[in-house]
């Protein structure tokens, strides 16, 4: 074990209180074992810039989302459906956020709230507005597919669609916001964690080090290089499944030779 990296990791943990929790020990120790001194530069950068959120952040965001629904968009529970993006028989991060928003809205909204996307449309009579809720927007692909399917379906094409997410990548949010004529709210808007780094020489150094680290987990670059479709996300909401837009060094659980790898955050 490189004592210089160990010292640097120690300093980093003292600065980032969330990293000092025992649950992250194995993931952080794996970084110490696997990184060279220069590769550790990018680990320091990612962990320092990682947006670590807790249930308190989720509650605060839900409070704002509730106010946007009722006061900014002036939506009425009698003709509005709030719909999470979870699929039947699957767990989904959106469910917790839908629930948090539900608790911030008056009780008259209770009947308008659905966590499951498909079953939501069984009782759609008289509805005009639709609010799609997700915990995280990466590239915007998933939400865009839902929007397209709703617009192409004669039964749902008359809805005015709105969207709310807890966090998202700025490029994904901008893409969807255009599609929805601005009817989208995201509490957190995140930028790419490395590419936007200034000065450019520093950014190039970090890219080089990340490529080097990813060689340990991928035999060749693929869909998850630098996160799904190179999203370069550095975000985690405590106790949830980490989005695949995050750098895979944070969640990919195998080395390139298929041996198991300790990860900082869980993803299934």
């Amino acid at each position: 074990m490189d004592s210089d990296i160990q010292e640097r990791m120690f300093t980093l943990i003292t600065k980032l209180s969330w990293t000092s929790r025992e649950r992250y020990r194995r993931g952080l120790e794996a970084f110490i074992r696997d990184c060279s001194t220069s590769e550790f530069d990018v680990i320091e950068h990612i962990l320092t810039n990682l947006r670590y959120c807790t249930s308190v952040d989720l509650e605060d965001a839900a409070e704002k989302a509730g106010a946007i629904i009722t006061k900014a968009w002036h939506l009425d529970p009698d003709d509005t459906m709030i719909v999470g993006l979870s699929e039947p028989n699957k767990t989904c991060g959106s469910t917790a956020y839908v629930r948090a928003i539900e608790l911030q809205l008056p009780r008259c909204w209770d009947k308008s709230i659905n966590t499951n996307f498909v079953s939501a449309f069984r009782h759609r009579d008289g509805q005009k507005n639709l609010i799609l809720i997700d915990d995280f927007i990466g590239t915007g692909e998933k939400l865009n597919k839902k929007i397209e399917s709703l617009r192409n379906n004669p039964k749902t094409q008359s809805y005015t669609i709105h969207a709310i997410s807890f966090a998202g990548m700025s490029f994904g949010i901008d893409f969807l916001s255009n599609k929805l004529s601005g009817r989208l709210h995201s509490e957190l808007k995140l930028e790419r964690a490395i590419s936007n780094e200034d000065p450019i020489e520093r950014g190039l150094h970090l890219i080089e080090q990340m490529e080097s680290l990813e060689k340990d987990i991928f035999t060749k670059p693929g869909a998850y290089t630098f996160g799904y479709k190179k999203s370069e996300t550095a975000f985690y909401l405590e106790a949830t499944n980490i989005p695949n837009n995050n750098f895979p060094i944070l969640w990919w659980d195998k080395y390139s030779d298929e041996t198991p790898r300790e990860t900082l955050f869980p993803r299934r």
Binding site: Q6, M9, T14, S17, T19, E22, I32, A239
Partner: protein
């Protein structure tokens, strides 16, 4: 606490309690080593001697350095005079508090003789004695 490998890691409902206990033990062990030391203790030695993780050690350092009880120099960690006095004053609370926790076992490897579906105390080797050595 030394090698609480995955089978011994508590489930989500007890994780915070577990982390609190781990931190208290780490604080106790680190203070004990630094109290005895006459020269700065390098990080690697501190982790090895105290048998604590880098996460716990950093959390303990962050807490105690804020109050000026520990300093970190190029040579290692040192308990300040104020830190020594504080440790002596609070010795009962720091060193003699019985720390114990229970959690629901996640793995059958937890114990060969008991059912995993019941609340268990930690196996003896993972409990913390009155005088943690």
């Amino acid at each position: 606490m030394r090698h609480l490998e995955k089978p011994y890691f508590p489930d989500a409902s007890n994780l915070e309690n577990y982390e609190e206990v781990v931190l208290k033990v780490a604080k106790r062990r680190i203070l004990k080593i630094l109290f005895k030391a006459s020269a700065p203790v390098p990080l690697a030695h501190l982790l090895e001697q105290a048998r604590v993780s880098i996460c716990s050690a950093a959390a303990v350092y962050a807490e105690l350095s804020t109050g000026g009880k520990i300093v970190r120099t190029d040579a290692g960690f040192l308990l300040t005079e104020e830190g020594r006095r504080w440790a002596l004053r609070n010795r009962k609370k720091i060193f003699m508090q019985q720390l114990a926790m229970t959690y629901k076992a996640k793995s059958s490897s937890f114990s060969k003789n008991t059912s995993v579906d019941h609340l268990k105390t930690l196996p003896k080797q993972y409990t913390l004695s009155r005088f943690d050595t």
